[in-house]
Amino acid sequence: MLTNVFQLLPLDIRSLLERMPQEPLESLEEIRIREDRPLEISCGGESRFVAADGCLVQEPDGAYRPSAEHCRKLLEKITNYSLYAMEEELRRGYITVAGGHRIGLAGRTILEGGAVRGIRDIGGFNIRIARERIGAASFLMPKLMDRNRDRVFSSLLLAPPQQGKTTLVRDIARSLSYGFWKGGDTGRRRGRKVGIVDERSEIAACVRGVPTFDVGPRSDVMDACPKAEGMMMLLRSMSPEVLIADEIGRPEDGAAITEASHAGVSVIATAHAFDLSDARGRPELKKLLEQGAFSQIVELRRTREGVMHRVIQLQMRGSPQGSLDSGNGWSSLAGEQLMRAGTP
């Protein structure tokens, strides 16, 4: 998994990171490369700078500073030496590379008629490492199932960036597709037809149309497709039972989700928001919630104990009054398994 990322890095930076201790290397989440500024990594939710000898330091003073040459080589490598073929990606500000890793870019933008056409003079890269966590969603799966009607609740996953939304939604897709609902990979039922709209190629990390992550045997992936159009296309062509989309929030996404929910298709989507009240502050999400397009909300929160989740049932078609699932509502995604593993 990391070899995919390390191949892209200029030799100096690669050998530097390879000299890092094993433990942070395994939980590596982001590599931030900024021209002439300290090299930063983040692992396990904390960020560190990398010193010239591969040690991790708290302070940026002694840290290694990538040069302009490094940045140029990195840019060439991640664009496959073909900036001209990446115009759409540059307009959006990130490039997804093989393995589903997303590389965010920052630099000077080029405007055309007031709209951003691309970025040039790129001086900042944020390499986000995609991880496949098989079983990440297993404790959530029973709560996604509407047993009375034998279908999946339309759910909206809410979390701030970097809380594991995409990892979770990928495993939900896999579990639905295989039919693992009961928690764990036991309790197998009928798998569902899953349609995944993978606008950023992060969920399935397709290479030439074939998913490289396991998203299940009954999943169809519309790769690098705008979400709204992709959802409509899948609805028309692939007859999905569940539609999965990452990071909704634009007006056209809302229209497509409404369309899908009226067509009897369950939608599982993620959005950037701290919690439900925060989500209601976003006009598109608010509209969707008021229309009753989602029957439940899943909030994710990352704590020291791992990723916690809370399910909020929404009253169908009514005003979205949240009622907590149980107790304080928060439970660990890893569940007892992790706790048991944690105690010696």
């Binding site: 191949q7 030799l11 060439e76 490598k77 073909s82 001209y84």
Partner: protein, 172 residues
């Protein structure tokens, strides 16, 4: 008897040298033209096909005659290798190694090297402009090469024989 054999050898050698020089003049416009075709193809791959550069180079190489194909292939190999070369370095290496197999001269080489600093690192329109510029420079070189061919090809062919004859006469 030996004198006669020597004279024949000198005549044959002189003729061959003359023909070889002449063929360089005949070959240069042909290579320039295939270089121009290759650039044209590369431009199509880039601006219409949006083909990534390594693939575009490989496809262009497959459709081009040697020795142009060898340069393109070498450049494509350079960037897919694990050495972490930038495209410019890989391109310059390829030109440095493969150029001696061509009969093209310094002017074309400069045009070719300049491409290495621009290919792949800008948007479609810009790539297209750079390739068109290189193409027009190669075209004007090709015209020069044709003039040279008309002027020197025949000359070298007869010059070789005549010089050989002169040497034979002086020796006898």
């Amino acid at each position: 008897m030996i004198k006669l054999l020597g004279a024949v050898l000198i005549l044959v050698a002189g003729t061959l040298i003359g023909f070889q020089q002449a063929s360089r003049f005949a070959e240069r416009p042909r290579q320039l033209r295939s270089a121009a075709h290759a650039l044209k193809r590369l431009e199509t791959e880039i601006s219409y096909g949006h083909t990534p550069l390594p693939d575009a180079l490989a496809r262009t190489a497959a459709a081009s005659p040697e020795p142009i194909a060898a340069i393109l292939r070498k450049a494509a190999q350079g960037i897919s290798s694990a050495e972490g070369l930038s495209f410019q370095e890989s391109w310059e290496n390829a030109v440095a190694e493969e150029w001696r197999n061509t009969v093209m001269t310094g002017g074309e080489r400069a045009v070719w090297l300049r491409l290495g600093t621009t290919l792949g690192i800008s948007d479609k329109e810009d790539q297209s402009k750079h390739l068109k510029l290189a193409l027009s420079q190669l075209k004007s070189e090709e015209e020069n090469a044709r003039d040279d061919q008309a002027r020197y090809e025949k000359m070298w062919k007869s010059l070789g024989v005549l010089l050989a004859v002169l040497i034979v006469i002086l020796m006898v």
